[in-house]
């Protein structure tokens, strides 16, 4: 019998257009996603091929999660429709069993669901064969790569979600319950995402994620390019566990649902409803009174108010709405634990962070927006009261406006409750600086406007398509389409609906200069949205017919005067604000989409690359006068460079690269002697001057200029955040430079290919003489004398490298004169803001030479949480570096806070601008957390040595010298101040940074000594491997090597070239004992990974304080090539063997830690400890790079007595 029902179900669905629409949606999106850049769904990066198995698996899992909407629509209605269409009585009186009915319906719907989702499979497979695909980015077609993830990820996802939706639909008889359940699943996924930010939670998150997206991520997080291209994501480990868990949950829910399903038409309510008693008050003889009616504008307003509140109530009282809001708030609260975390440290719950956190609710807003625009448009028709409503003497506009306002009211109340939630979270965190204006000004402008605009759009779509579900699907498609447009180069916000951007909030600069642009774009889109709304009013279905032809006919009648006024004013606002925006973004400022921008950069390279290594004189003196006008966001810089010919031949042509940003203009650019413009590449602001008399070797030349930086109106996007109202920070790259600028080249190989350029060589070979003759900061200079006068507004302090010579006030402005007394790098910052200042002093005595250093921190008022920590870091770092490396070359250090538009700190001579976002507001718990403020300070100070004392040659490996050594230096300082566990915690993050970074490599992974600006290598691997080096050969030996290195390489002139890692490694080798010489190769010249594992661990209690631990460990040493293909290396390594016990507080402590020689794949150790062992293993502190660090230790079990 079930088979009949099954067959009927198939036939029924066969005739439903929805079945094919769903299929088509999945087919098309999959096809576009895989075959074009227009739609992008979780594709791989860099060298991972576009059809790599991992990429396909991820895309499929995303699609099956994202289109749960379809699953719920197909499966949820299978039984539900009998109740909705009131055919339940007819069905249930038939002689069928509950099993036949449910199973038949389920099986039928599930087969249909499978059919629908094969659309995805076909789409992907077909997409692979499209002629425009780039063969370089594809693997050979392999059907298994599509079939396997479909079976492992899509099918189980469909099955268990299908069961859940089917049963919930059948049991609850309400579609909203079905929808709520997918929102619930989505929330689980969100929670998974949040908790997986902590490395330790990844495995739990992998199990929790119903769609197995996080699971795929976790399972493949450290897969190299080769692995990602070559391996399917197998059904093992967390994947297997996740799949089994969710299948079982599906089956259990299915069984529970089966037994709770009632085969009766009327069923007893789950909750006893409170009954309203009827009284006997009816009086049939009452006369119907005459009433007055009014239809004017005032009455309409009254109707709007009344209706709005009615709809507001209808939405707010709906159970799914409440469920959604509660879940959203729950997510906010969970998220608040992970807010602004940096290396496992919380940031203070400042209001802007709370606002950012609250933006996590946007997803729920979107769901609410999309679903309730549909619900409200269909409100009357769903309960069939529409004909009564439609015959009411209410202007057409009243109904829709009320629905709109009802929703807006919902948003306003919701936003308010979010603010309350935010304030409560702050309070519970013990943070009482509630910045209510920031809450209100962010949420009631940015968020509310966004919602209002998209609500207008939602009404428009729902009214015009006049089909709730297609309306939903269209809304989702619209969001995708926006992204597609962007990919096609239609990037201007004037074409991106609702795309006003309020920018980043900074406590230093508020919303700063973002406000005008934001407001105008909102006005513009509001005009457009109201226009759409007017169209919606015209074409809204009123009455019993919904045929487009008739709606059009009626629509014309509806264009009444008020509506016409609305249309005209909306159009006026739209057009005029559009003109004004265009004037601002494209006329007084310049706008280019990314393709045009890339084309220009490519043209720059094609035209001028030939000049890259043209010998030019070097800058030896810089003397500037810079006037900053923060309120206008303008500045003027006037000054000169002294150039010296350091070549052995005369130079006649001087190539000047002016700043090509159109905000810069030049009053004059000239030399102190006769010259003429030989060629002017105006498009690139590149000018070639010919000196009348060539500059002889050793001769000097003065280059003078005056440049004006001017801010006009507002720009489309990417506004200049360097020169702002409070917190100006820009550097010397704003000013003219010499010769071709390699940094301006297109960096992404994909973009280069589009513009017919060869892939970019990231850095020169280590022995390239051209690279050796220039430092990492460029070839314009080998050191300068620096002097500057900066002026700014009276309430700000302006700072540049050098020592303050004089400070004065003139015409209501403040002037500062700085001068550096020793040569420094041609790299300087200019900073101006309203600052509080903390000053301190220290004295260092090395070899009985005393040196006084002034320490200063310039910070934003209120950001004083970590000043002590930063000051301590300065003192301890200077102490350590001076004693272990070399004396500090300056007499002062200043840390300058700048707004969080960028989140880095940068080291200039005696000056470190330090972002508001990465240290000033971190909430560092002294005993628990790695002190990042301390660490970053120390790292930046280390650059005063690594960059400002030793400059690396501009070749492969340069950043190992600059960055890795700074990482090492900071680690050594921190090691003295903080416990071992913090170091372990820190290194763990760095290992993760390295291992996950290499999976996204876009060209090739280099060994550390040949690193090419790869962050994951220079910071992540650099920290870990240099830490390992000092662990093996001793900190003193490493420092001795570095001391000698600095001594030999602290100026260009000593060797006539800059240094490379080849030089550095020489010093390391010299201090490494013979037995460990291979380490230098393993750590720096090769890519080596270990697979260490504790296999067996047992102990035997000998006496009360004697325990014999028997430990079997396995170890494998692998060498990877640049794509991650590994071969095994012979083991000859000394590796830590460790045993943990418990201390008095019950925390883990190391009872034993010794290096043992590991020269076989598995080895067994017997080690005696004095306390009961808990865990034991190999490399327990994870000093070596290992992709499964967690299996290095194992719980020790007591050996059974024999």
């Amino acid at each position: 019998m079930w088979y009949q029902i099954f067959k009927f179900e198939l036939q029924y669905r066969k005739a439903r257009p929805a079945t094919y629409i769903y299929f088509a949606i999945l087919f098309l999106l999959s096809f576009l996603a895989i075959s074009t850049d227009a739609v992008q769904i979780g594709g791989g990066a860099g060298l991972v091929k576009e059809n790599a198995p991992v990429t396909i698996a991820t895309m499929m899992a995303i699609m099956s999660a994202f289109f749960m909407m379809i699953t719920s629509a197909v499966m949820g209605v299978a039984v539900l429709r009998d109740f909705e269409h009131n055919t339940d009585s007819m069905m249930f009186v038939n002689p069928i069993t509950k099993f036949d009915y449910l199973f038949g319906r389920f099986a039928g719907s599930f087969v249909v669901l499978l059919f629908v989702f094969t659309g995805m499979l076909f789409g992907f497979v077909l997409g692979e064969f499209m002629p425009w695909r780039d063969a370089d980015k594809l693997l050979a077609f392999n059907f298994w790569h599509y079939w396997q993830p479909f079976m492992v990820f899509v099918l189980p996802n469909l099955f268990f979600t299908g069961v859940i939706f089917f049963m919930l639909g059948a049991v609850s008889r309400k579609m909203v319950v079905v929808y709520s359940s997918w929102i619930f699943l989505f929330i689980l996924y969100q929670i998974g995402i949040m908790i997986s930010q902590e490395l330790d939670n990844r495995d739990i998150a992998a199990l929790l994620d119903p769609f197995s997206l996080i699971t795929i991520n976790t399972a493949t997080q450290y897969w190299t390019v080769t692995e990602q291209n070559g391996q399917v994501v197998g059904m093992d480990g967390v994947i297997f566990q996740n799949r089994v868990i969710w299948m079982v949950i599906g089956i259990i829910l299915g069984v529970v649902g089966y037994f709770s399903f009632s085969f009766n038409v009327v069923r007893s309510a789950w909750f006893k409803r409170k009954t309203v008693k009827a009284d006997n008050s009816t009086d049939l003889s009452v006369a119907v009174p005459q009433v007055s009616t009014s239809y004017g504008f005032a009455n309409n307003l009254k109707q709007i108010v009344n209706q709005s509140f009615f709809y507001f109530g209808q939405v707010f009282k709906a159970v799914p709405f409440q469920a959604m809001v509660l879940c959203g708030i729950l997510i906010l609260i969970i998220n608040s634990f992970f807010m602004g975390r940096v290396f496992g440290i919380n940031t203070y719950p400042t209001t802007y962070l709370m606002v950012q956190n609250i933006s996590g609710f946007n997803l729920f807003f979107l769901i609410i927006l999309v679903s309730y625009t549909g619900e409200l448009v269909w409100k009357e028709r769903d309960v069939k009261i529409n004909l009564i409503y439609d015959a009411m003497p209410v202007p057409d506009v009243v109904n829709l406006i009320s629905k709109f306002l009802g929703l807006v009211l919902v948003y306003i109340v919701l936003l308010f409750s979010l603010i309350v939630t935010g304030v409560l979270i702050q309070t519970f965190n013990g943070y009482f600086i509630y910045d209510l204006p920031v809450y209100f000004s962010s949420l009631y402008t940015d968020t509310l406007f966004f919602l209002v605009l998209f609500t207008f759009l939602g009404f428009f779509v729902q009214v015009l398509v006049n089909h709730k579900f297609i309306g939903y699907a269209l809304m989702v498609t619209f969001f995708l389409l926006t992204a597609v447009l962007r990919n096609w180069g239609v990037e201007h916000r004037m074409f991106q609906f609702g795309s006003a951007d309020l920018g980043t909030y900074s406590e230093m600069n508020g919303y700063g200069h973002f406000i005008p642009g934001f407001s105008w774009f909102n006005l513009y889109w509001l005009g457009f949205a109201v226009l759409l709304f007017a169209l919606s009013v015209m074409f809204a279905v009123r009455g019993s017919e919904a045929v487009m032809k008739i709606r059009f006919k009626v629509g014309k009648l509806r264009l009444t005067r008020p509506l016409l006024i609305m249309v005209i004013s909306a159009l006026t606002v739209f057009v005029f604000s559009g003109f004004y925006i265009y004037y601002n973004t494209n006329i007084i400022n310049s706008y280019q989409n990314s393709d045009d921008r890339n084309a220009d950069l490519a043209e720059y390279e094609k035209t001028l690359k030939g000049f890259e290594f043209l010998p030019q004189p070097k800058i030896i003196d810089v003397n500037m006068k810079v006037d900053i006008y923060p309120s206008d966001r303008d500045y003027q810089a006037e000054g000169y460079y002294v150039l010296e010919n350091q070549e052995d031949h005369p130079i006649q042509e001087i190539h000047i690269q002016l700043n090509p940003d159109p905000q810069f203009s030049y009053d004059y650019v000239r030399f102190d002697r006769e010259s003429l413009v030989k060629e002017n590449y105006e498009k690139f602001d590149y000018v070639i001057y010919e000196l009348k008399e060539p500059l002889q070797p050793g001769d000097h030349l003065k280059f003078e200029f005056k440049t004006i930086f001017e801010t006009r109106g507002f720009v489309e996007g990417g506004s200049n955040t360097g020169v702002v109202f409070n917190g100006t920070f820009f550097n010397s790259f704003d000013f003219p430079t010499l010769g071709y600028n390699e940094n301006a080249e297109l960096a992404e190989d994909d973009d280069r290919k589009d513009n017919d350029l060869e892939p970019k060589q990231r850095l020169m070979e280590r022995d390239d003489p051209k690279g050796l003759s220039m430092g990492m900061l460029g070839d314009d200079s080998r050191g300068i004398n620096f002097e500057i006068v900066i002026s700014t507004e009276a309430d700000q302090i302006a700072i540049a490298p050098g020592y303050l010579q004089k400070e004065w006030k003139e015409e209501g402005r403040k002037f500062y004169h700085y001068k550096m007394d020793v040569p420094m790098e041609n790299f300087y910052s200019i900073v101006s803001a309203r600052y509080e200042v903390l000053k301190d002093k220290m004295t260092i005595e090395v070899d009985s030479i005393r040196k006084d250093i002034d320490l200063e921190i310039y910070y934003h008022k209120g950001h004083d949480y970590n000043l002590e920590s930063m000051m301590k870091a300065m003192k301890q770092s200077f102490e350590y570096f001076s004693k272990n490396f070399s004396p500090y070359q300056y007499r002062q250090m200043r840390i300058l806070e700048f707004p969080r538009y960028a989140t880095f700190a940068q080291s200039f001579a005696n000056t470190v601008p330090f972002s508001e976002g990465i240290g000033f507001v971190l909430e560092i718990e002294k005993d628990k957390d790695v002190d990042i403020a301390y660490y970053v300070t120390s790292h930046e100070l280390a650059h005063q040595w690594w960059a400002h004392q030793v400059m690396a040659a501009n070749v492969q490996g340069s950043t190992m010298i600059i960055e890795s050594l700074s990482q090492y230096s900071a680690l050594m300082v921190m090691k003295r101040e903080y416990p071992q566990e913090h170091m372990k915690e820190f290194l763990k993050e760095e290992v993760n940074r390295y291992l996950s970074g290499r999976t996204n490599e876009t060209k090739r992974e280099n060994p550390l000594s040949k690193v090419e600006n790869q962050q994951y290598i220079r910071y992540g691997k650099g920290a870990v491997n240099l830490y390992a080096l000092q662990d093996y050969i001793g900190e003193d030996s490493v420092n001795a090597a570095l001391r000698r290195y600095i001594n030999d390489w602290d100026s260009f002139d000593k060797n006539g070239k800059y240094s490379t890692t080849e030089d550095l490694l020489g010093y390391f080798r010299a201090v490494t004992p013979d037995s460990l010489q291979h380490l230098i190769g393993d750590l720096f010249e090769k890519i080596v990974l270990f697979e260490n594992k504790a296999e067996e661990a047992t102990f035997e209690k000998l006496t009360d304080d004697k325990f014999m631990v028997e430990l079997e460990v396995s170890s494998k040493k692998l060498e990877a090539d640049s794509l991650g293909l590994t071969v095994e290396m012979p083991l000859i390594d000394w590796i830590d063997i460790g045993i943990y016990g418990e201390n008095a507080e019950g925390d883990e402590k190391l009872l034993y830690l010794q290096k043992h020689k590991i020269d076989e794949g598995t080895k067994t150790f017997s080690i005696e400890v004095s306390q009961k062992p808990i865990k034991a293993g190999i490399d327990p502190i994870n000093k070596l790079i290992d992709r499964n660090p967690d299996d290095n230790v194992k719980a020790v079990s007591e050996k059974a007595a024999i």
């Binding site: 009616t293 003497p393 032809k549």
Partner: protein, 301 residues
């Protein structure tokens, strides 16, 4: 005020021709619209109630062009659709009040009084606080009637209002309708002939989208008075009679079919003359012509 309907035609997008060249003139007082299911009654009423567009034709209510000045019509319209629903979680009082606001009754006191009175009138006052979801079919129908009477309408269109009402409620409702002033145009559609007979001064019969008869019920009865004959027959004889006579209705009486035949004189002595009533008028127009050729549907009936 007169409602003039001229040459009204409507074909739905699925090809069904719902209205064919309808011409009606409806004055104040009760007007009955009779017709079988699917005859086009509801289509016509929705068109008058501004909820549907005709393809051709015009409707004038006094000076108001119903098809254009929709809002003017709506201001004086009371409409009860044939099928409607209500918000299940809202009480009758709240929803009625809400609808009264939409009707333009802006004075709070007046509105309260009116809502109360209508709830009394429709015998819902006792249950006014109850959520509409808990209402029975009859109560819901009464609620529909109540809302149609909001704001003293001048044009009342009620589509099958007595469906689902028990006899007592039906009487009460019909009384209520007849109480409505002389100045009101009330159009009542029904397929219950008695409703029309009891209430209406004028009526029309619609079949397959066409007006097949318009006039005063009593006058119409008079036109066939003395021409209706009945006979009790055996079941298997039915077809013979149908072929032979103009059978306008058949019904079972104690298990045996009794047919009514329309003929100027007694067909034969086995027939018995009956007092013609409106139902005979109705049937004579609905199936009058088809019966001679023997419509298959009727054979199966």
């Amino acid at each position: 005020m007169n409602l003039e309907i001229n040459n009204l035609s409507k074909t739905y997008s699925n090809g069904v021709q719902a209205l064919r060249d309808i011409n009606l003139s409806i004055g104040t007082g009760m007007f009955g619209l009779l017709g079988p299911n699917g005859a086009g009654k509801s289509s016509l009423m929705r068109t008058i109630a501004t909820l549907q567009e005709p393809d051709t034709g015009s409707i004038k209510l006094g000076d108001i062009d119903v098809l254009v000045q929709k809002d003017e019509v709506r201001k004086i319209l009371g409409y009860l659709p044939q099928e409607f629903g209500v918000y299940p979680k809202v009480s009758a009082e709240v929803l009625l009040n809400h609808l009264a606001v939409l009707k333009g009754i802006s004075n709070n006191k007046e509105r309260r009084e009116l809502v109360g009175a209508l709830l009394h009138k429709t015998n819902l006052h006792a249950s006014r606080k109850k959520n509409l979801g808990g209402y029975s079919g009859g109560m819901k129908q009464r609620f529909g009637i109540a809302q149609a009477l909001l704001a003293n309408p001048k044009l009342i269109i009620v589509d099958e209002p007595t469906a689902g009402l028990d006899p007592a409620e039906r009487n009460r409702f019909l009384n209520l309708l007849s109480e409505l002033g002389e100045n009101t145009v009330v159009i009542l559609s029904t397929h219950i002939v008695d409703d029309v007979k009891e209430l209406c001064t004028n009526m029309a019969i619609i079949n397959q989208g066409e007006v097949v008869l318009q006039g005063n019920p009593q006058e119409q009865i008079d036109t066939i008075q003395g021409k209706v004959w009945k006979k009790s027959i055996e079941k298997d004889e039915l077809q013979v009679y149908k072929n032979k006579y103009r059978v306008i209705s058949e019904r079972l009486l104690a298990g045996k079919p009794e047919i009514h035949v329309l003929a100027d004189s007694n067909p034969d002595s086995s027939f018995e003359g009956v007092e013609a009533d409106l139902e005979d008028v109705y049937f004579s127009h609905i199936i009058g012509d088809d019966i001679v050729v023997g419509s298959p549907e009727l054979e199966n009936a």
